[in-house]
Amino acid sequence: MLFRALNVAALLLMPFVLAGIVQRVKSLWSGRKGPPVLQLAFDVRRLVQKSAVYSETTTAVFRCAPYVACISAFAAAAITPLLGGAPCVSFRFDFVWLAYTWALGRAALMLAALDTGSPFAGMGAAREATFSAVLEPIVFLVFGALCLLSGAHTLHEALALRLHDGPAWVGWIAVIVAWFIVLQVEAGRMPVDDPSTHLELTMVHEAMVLDHSGVELAAIQMASAVKLFVGCAVLATLINPWAGTDSWRAVAANLVGCVFAAIAIGHVEVLSARVKLRAVPSYIVVALVSAVVALLAAAWRAEGVG
């Protein structure tokens, strides 16, 4: 019970911290001090107090989409082992829930973008939809490989796999590589999307939300920060040597893992340029190859054992 409460507490705090850490890493590399780590929390508080302006073109879809995105991000977080142990909710094949609630949030934002009638928002939505079409099979290959490697069928059990032999190590590393790229795409990070660009033509996620303001914008920012945390937590649980247990060292290891993941994302973001939008699918193919390698490693292992 205590650890579940901790999960909830982490869910309320860590998204802000991780987004701040990524920002801080970028600032330090470019020789600036950067905004406070909790800047996103201040932003969200400021936005919540503001009233929103809606475009005359838009309908109710535009107004409720940010909330749908936010709720689905939290729904996905509910089944994720945020602190390495048991998540708030868990059921068999709950990773399908994770992938599909993310898809729900994505669909809501894409519809909101098309609702504005703005060419830039439509462009962002089309890019997002295309990338996700290539990404989704990878997510399931990763989960499938994890299931075969661990023999478990819930996300937190599958992530807490213990490794003993050669092929499994290969699979484990391939899974980490694939998931890192999935995380970059889903959270809208370099080298797939540049969250700090000012040119609409080069945007993906930012272009979709150009017209949102006030609480709705806060909800969208919250949603993407929660997604970032969920993605980092999955990665951290994979690396966490004490994952799968409700213990303080598992919690600590997972939090440290999350911070390291955020630092890694910040480094990639500051040290690499965004790849050309047409080349993004090719970048995602790297993840596809890793996921296939993981799957083959899982098979190899099963052959060896059985």
Binding site: T57, C64, Y100, T101, A129, P137, L210
Partner: protein, 661 residues
């Protein structure tokens, strides 16, 4: 009692058809059709109620002169599963038709034959699903096919629609020939025309069984529009009135899946290659169906391709079920068939809803071309909202019904219950393919709804009429309720699915053991409550909010023409999959610094498979035409048909002779 009710539904539906055709007034024949279908559905429901909830199988037979021998009415759980929703959904389609056809009445069209044919469709369901005699089954099959053809060409004065109808007619009859060939082989082996007799030849593995399986599989695949037998489908769906597209896609073509399951049940334990090939067929159909749905301009064509995707998803489930039967893992078999059957029902619910909404768009605007539409949500809020529900369900998003069947499928594919490591790998890869079809389906549906209903109307000359009348909205609302109810309380569908599994001697609990529903459904419910609160809250906030123009990123003269179009939305994904969707362009681009001429660009993404298929067929057609040309007295079409049938039957018989008794 229940048997009498079931049998009585046949004369009721037939009499309704005759009366509807005979009446002069459109209103009267519509009323007769609706009343007789309502009575027929009630009779069928009361007839199968016992079977559905665990009662005995209904079985009656009459001796009939050769070659029929005996007509056996045999209604087991599988029949009952298909009967329980097929007839009420046809009834809803008929109700929808009364309003949809009204503009045609004003132009002097007479609706009576249309309603009579809808009754015949309902009648054919009773025959197909409950009679276990090959000849009567074929009769029902043919009634459904011809009635559907005549219903498709309602607007027969348009040449394109006649062509689409003919295309369908030919395809469905190629399927019929295959089916006849399979039945002839079965008759040759068993000397019986009854399915129970067929079971004798199907129970043991043999080469003739393999040949029969291939023939049957191809026939049912053509019926249900599996890839690559799907080519007739987008055309027919674009040409037909909306309710006919809905009924064909959602209800009539599920007969192919029923036929497949019936023969798997007769086989008992299929061989491993059979399950794999069905699974492979399903994956390929889901992949190509969804891919082609991304580039369609015509909303109804788009929905048609999405049907190919969805039967593919069902086939993945059925293939998994067959593999489970082969490997002797009842949990996998039950899970696969559960997912397949549930998706059949789910697809019927949301696809009819989507087609009905598309019909109300076409009635209000006179077009379903996405490049012209846009901004409909403000003028037709009910249609738009209902289309959105259907579209999200079709993407398999939580908390709607498509999600439940997809989770079940993933559970089966990723459960690791394959017989070997290799088979687990293939199953996991199939799960990835399913995920691909889900994400691309999401792409297609977002595009359809976002471009068609949101933003501003792209063609400013388009006049948008009124919201659909109650007779059209009513069926849509009912379907939407079904979509939501099965998403939040899939428990309602479980007794139906348990009935569908009973003939296979599979307990539902075996499948549920792999995926217990309680937590998962509770999560869906919590999610839906949160979503409802959010929707209500955002609606309240919208009441007195400040409004201004969309931000044009510094450009002040935004117009409807500047919006992202349906083609530009699909441009990037079409470029990735250009191998399967070659682009044809017609362009006149501006030249020089101050271009004087107006410029044009038209792009079209062809269905590469269809193109190549027809190229191949075209060569074959030339050959047939040369042969046929030499026999000038013969009616050529009949000759060509006979030739095809001869080839098929000969090939089948050779196979059979090789492995026959």
């Amino acid at each position: 009692m229940s048997t009498t009710a079931l049998l009585l539904s046949l004369p009721v539906l037939a009499a309704g058809a005759v009366a509807a055709a005979a009446l002069r007034s459109n209103r009267a024949s519509a009323s007769v059709a609706i009343a007789s279908q309502a009575l027929g559905s009630a009779l069928v429901l009361s007839g199968i109620w016992g079977v559905l909830f665990g009662g005995d199988v209904i079985e009656v037979s009459w001796v009939w002169p050769a070659p029929v021998e005996s007509v056996v009415f045999h209604v087991d759980g599988l029949s009952a599963f298909f009967l329980i929703w097929s007839l009420p959904m046809t009834l809803l389609g008929t109700v929808y038709a009364t309003a949809y056809l009204r503009p045609y009445y004003e132009r002097g069209r007479h609706g009576a034959p249309h309603f009579a044919l809808l009754n015949m469709v309902a009648l054919s369901f009773v025959l197909i699903y409950s009679v276990q005699n090959a000849l009567v089954f074929l009769l029902g099959w043919e009634i459904a096919a011809v009635a559907a053809w005549l219903l498709v060409i309602w607007d027969y004065r348009v040449q394109k629609i006649r062509f689409a109808g003919f295309n369908y007619l030919v395809s469905t009859h190629v399927g019929l020939f295959l089916l006849v060939a399979a039945f002839m082989l079965l008759h040759a082996h068993t000397g019986s025309m009854n399915f129970a007799g067929f079971a004798r030849a199907l129970a043991r593995p043999s080469e003739s069984r393999a040949a029969i399986f291939v023939l049957l599989g191809l026939s049912f695949a053509l019926k249900s529009a599996f890839f690559p037998g799907h080519t007739w489908l987008p055309r027919a769906h674009a040409a037909a009135p909306a309710h006919i597209s809905a009924l064909m896609s959602g209800v009539i073509h599920k007969a192919g899946l029923f036929g497949f399951m019936r023969f798997v049940q007769l086989m008992g334990r299929p061989e491993e290659w059979m399950g794999w090939s069905v699974l492979g067929f399903g994956v390929v159909s889901a992949f190509f169906g969804v891919l082609y749905s991304t580039t369609q301009r015509d909303l109804k064509r788009l929905l048609g391709y999405s049907s190919t995707e969805n039967v593919g998803i069902v086939a993945i489930g059925l293939g998994l079920g067959c593999l489970g039967l082969t490997w002797g893992t009842p949990s996998l078999a039950a899970l696969g068939f559960t997912a397949g059957l549930l998706h059949v029902l789910n697809h019927a619910l949301f696809k009819c809803l989507l087609f009905y909404a598309a019909g109300s768009v076409s009635q209000a605007t006179g077009t379903v071309d996405l490049e012209k539409l846009g901004g409909l949500a403000k003028r037709m809020p009910h249609t738009a909202g209902l289309f959105l529900v259907g579209a999200l369900a079709s993407c398999g998003l939580p908390p709607l019904n498509g999600f439940v069947s997809e989770v079940w499928l993933y559970a089966g594919l990723l459960s690791g219950s394959g017989a070997s490591a290799q088979s687990n790998i293939v199953l996991t890869a199939s799960a990835a393919a399913l995920a691909f079809s889900g994400a691309v389906g999401c792409f297609a549906m977002t595009r359809a709804f976002g471009v068609g209903f949101l933003g501003n109307t792209r063609d400013t000359t388009l006049s948008i009429g009124h919201e659909a009348p109650l007779a059209m909205l009513g069926p849509m609302w009912l379907h939407a309720c079904g979509v939501i109810a099965l998403g939040l309380a899939p428990g309602f569908a479980l007794p139906l699915i348990a009935a569908g599994l009973r003939p296979f001697q599979l307990p539902l609990s075996a499948g549920l053991g792999l995926l217990p529903l309680d937590t998962f459904v509770a999560s869906s419910r919590v999610l839906s409550v949160a979503l409802l609160v959010a929707i209500a809250w955002s609606w309240l906030r919208g009441l007195d909010a400040r409004r201004t123009a969309t931000w044009g990123c510094g450009y002040g003269a935004l117009s409807a023409r500047i919006q992202y179009t349906a083609s530009s939305f699909a441009e990037q994904i079409a470029r990735i999959f250009v191998t399967f969707m070659p682009e044809s362009r017609r362009e006149r681009l501006p030249t020089g610094y101050l271009p004087r001429q107006s410029s044009q660009l038209a792009t079209h993404h062809a269905d590469a498979v269809e193109q190549r298929l027809f190229e191949g067929l075209g060569r074959g057609e030339d050959l047939v035409a040369r042969v046929a040309g030499q026999i000038s007295e013969q009616p050529r079409v009949a000759f060509a048909a006979a030739l095809i049938m001869l080839v098929v039957v000969t090939a089948g018989s050779v196979f059979a002779a090789a492995g026959g008794p």
